[in-house]
């Protein structure tokens, strides 16, 4: 069974030879570049001081290269568009040292000269004449959006302003996708398409990171409030965005056919630590109709499975998300309220593939011991792995400042416990990291 078959078995709720493993196939299932560099050295893949590429500059994720895929037995890889979240291409690599002292390679348009106060400013499409769109604080590990909000005038709000960044995919991008599918498909790994554009109201994109002068509602607090105070506006933005997204998916499918195992539909977070960010009524009124249109189109015209990423406690929304047609759920934040692994598997295991939930990254991975890590991996393999429907992935990206011994223990444990059939857990289950 090759990687593609292994992932497809999981997505079709069948047990393959072993639980498939993802590291790096989406922007929400990767690893911070500093932790990646440490892991590569610990595994003997790199000498100390060897720079690692930053493949995703917002969350500062490192590039998971073929040697690591091979070494860890990773089954899925990402197919994306030529430009990153800030609208420039990952090319013209240049050296930089992160604030924690890790030597890395960053794209040519990545800013490497800090401001006088030590912060790094990111510019949309690398355009230094525009106001900066994101900031990494001095000694920080990631970028966060800078709010660039024009004064809001409710009498003159135009949904087109919140749609400026959504456009038809051009031929060059389409050709890039086609070539990537050809190159990566030849490895026998499962391909996950992440093309953006269908993530409705995503906090990473609402501030308009690629735009020089974003118009419309760009302040996140205003945006969240708009879900209840300006629902008609939001609805119109989503409907038009959906049209553009569908047309792009159609073109991509025309170019690459059914070669993708799954497509990343949305990364909008619907959960916070203690409960859903929005209520089921708001979800049903604004999000579910467009989610269902995208998912229905995919299911009708392709063999792709639909992938949703949402952090936090979303137990109360899961019936609605499943009804909207999502096949795979990530990151399955079991450290959030009500997100108990057994209950999730029991209630949704036959409808939803859990792409995540493998290890808690809020407490166990950064602050636990290697033994804690192993125990949780074993538990999660057993609970989520039964009957298929599980792709092992950490709960969101492996962050910076995680002890490398824990990361090594994580992947050792994954490979020790991933074989089918999974043994049922005996005795008390591991409950650290649940609230």
């Amino acid at each position: 069974m090759n990687s593609r078959e292994r992932v497809d078995a999981a997505l079709n709720h069948r047990e393959g030879d072993r639980v498939p493993l993802d590291l790096g196939a989406t922007s929400c299932s990767g690893i911070h570049v500093s932790t990646l560099a440490a892991l590569r050295q610990a595994l003997g893949l790199d000498e100390p001081g060897t720079p690692v590429r930053v493949s995703e500059p917002f969350q500062m994720l490192g590039e998971v290269t073929p040697d690591l895929l091979e070494r860890l037995g990773i089954d899925a890889v990402r197919v994306g568009l030529p430009n990153n979240i800030y609208g420039f291409a990952n090319e013209d690599w240049k050296p930089w040292t992160t604030f924690d002292g890790t030597p890395v390679l960053v794209p040519g348009q990545f800013p490497t000269e800090p401001e006088p106060n030590g912060d790094l400013y990111m510019y949309p499409k690398g355009d230094r004449s525009a106001p900066p769109c994101a900031r990494m604080p001095a000694s920080g590990f990631y970028f966060d959006s800078i709010t660039r909000q024009e004064p809001l005038d409710d009498d003159h709000l135009d949904p087109a302003d919140n749609l400026e960044e959504f456009a038809a995919i051009d031929d060059a991008a389409l050709e890039h996708v086609r070539r990537e599918v050809e190159r990566l498909g030849a490895t026998g790994r499962a391909l996950v398409g992440e093309f953006g554009g269908t993530s409705f109201g995503d906090a990473a994109f609402v501030p308009g990171p690629t735009l020089a002068h974003p118009r419309g509602i760009r302040d996140l607090e205003q945006w969240y409030m708009s879900l209840v105070s300006r629902p008609e506006y939001v609805k119109e933005v989503f409907e038009k965005q959906c049209e553009i997204g569908l047309s792009n998916l159609q073109k991509i499918h025309g170019a690459v056919g059914d070669s993708l195992s799954a497509v990343f539909v949305t990364g909008t977070d619907f959960g916070s630590q203690g409960g859903p960010m929005i209520g089921p009524k708001t979800y049903r009124a604004l999000f579910q109709p467009v989610h269902a249109r995208i998912n229905d189109w995919i299911h009708t015209h392709t063999s792709w499975k639909t992938f949703i990423h949402s952090c936090g406690s979303i137990w109360r929304l899961l019936d609605d998300l499943a009804d909207a047609g999502f096949d795979a759920l990530n990151p399955v934040q079991t450290s959030a309220t009500d997100m108990t692994p057994e209950a999730l598997k029991d209630r949704y295991g036959d409808r939803i593939t859990f792409w995540g939930g493998g290890i808690d990254t809020q407490r166990v991975l950064p602050f636990g011991s290697p033994e804690d890590v192993r125990a949780m991996v074993r538990e999660r393999m057993s609970i989520f792995g039964a009957g298929g429907g599980f792709v092992f992935n950490t709960i969101h990206n492996v962050q910076a400042r995680v002890p490398v011994a824990n990361v090594v223990a994580l992947y050792e444990a994954v490979n020790e416990y991933r074989s089918y059939p999974q043994e049922p857990l005996v005795g008390r289950s591991f409950d650290q990291g649940r609230s």
Binding site: Y142, S229, Q362, R401
Partner: protein
């Protein structure tokens, strides 16, 4: 429905314009500002917080209510000051150094203000020194927020800085944010952890006995 009842309902419902109109009406009709604060704003924040904790409303509804309360408070505040109504206590709040996330922190700040606290909001990426300086300016509590596992560890540096400045005994330190727990608060020597905005208000009232 009485005037203050209508004010309370408008805030809970996030109706900015109505809340402003109602607070102005209440003032014009001669109601004491302190009563407007207690029965209008504080009552509204209490109700909003309870609805959130019960899972009946969510983040957008909390935000619109808090914004409506802030608007009403903007009108009421000069009257409270003119009447010499003291705040419950002065609280300095901020997101810890290295962390730029502020929606949760802003909600806590607005809830504290709406509950009669004087709030000094230092914003995001706040150094330990800036917290210390505000405590020197008379704050009796420090509220620190963090969203990230990479930055939550910086919270202990604020407590160390307060200790080094011999101020730790005279302030209460409250922490919050997604990865934070009571255990972590105990571990770093904070006085408490609050999981949401109204819990923060309750905890501070309890810690400061106000």
């Amino acid at each position: 429905m009485g005037q203050l009842e209508e004010l309370r309902a408008a805030i809970v419902d996030g109706q900015n314009a109505t809340a402003l109109a109602k607070v102005n009406e209440a003032l014009a009709s001669g109601l004491p500002p302190e009563q407007i604060l207690q029965e209008g704003l504080i009552a509204a924040m209490g109700e909003t917080g309870a609805l959130y904790q019960a899972g009946d409303i969510f983040v957008p509804e909390m935000l619109v209510a808090a914004r409506a309360m802030s608007a009403a408070l903007g009108v009421l505040k000069p009257h409270l000051v003119a009447e010499g109504i003291p705040s419950r206590a002065k609280v300095v709040i901020g997101t810890v150094q290295g962390d730029l996330h502020d929606i949760g922190k802003n909600l806590v700040a607005m809830f504290l203000e709406g509950n009669g606290f004087e709030v000094v909001d230092l914003g995001v990426d706040v150094s330990p020194e800036r917290f210390v300086a505000e405590v020197n300016n008379g704050a009796s509590a420090v509220a620190i927020s963090a969203l990230l596992t990479t930055t939550m560890v910086n919270m202990s540096e604020v407590i160390t800085a307060l200790t080094d400045a011999n101020l730790r005994d005279q302030v209460r330190v409250l922490i919050g944010g997604a990865p934070i727990t009571t255990e972590f608060a105990n571990e770093i020597g904070a006085d408490g952890y609050a999981r949401d905005a109204s819990s923060a208000v309750d905890l501070l009232c309890q810690l400061l006995e106000v």
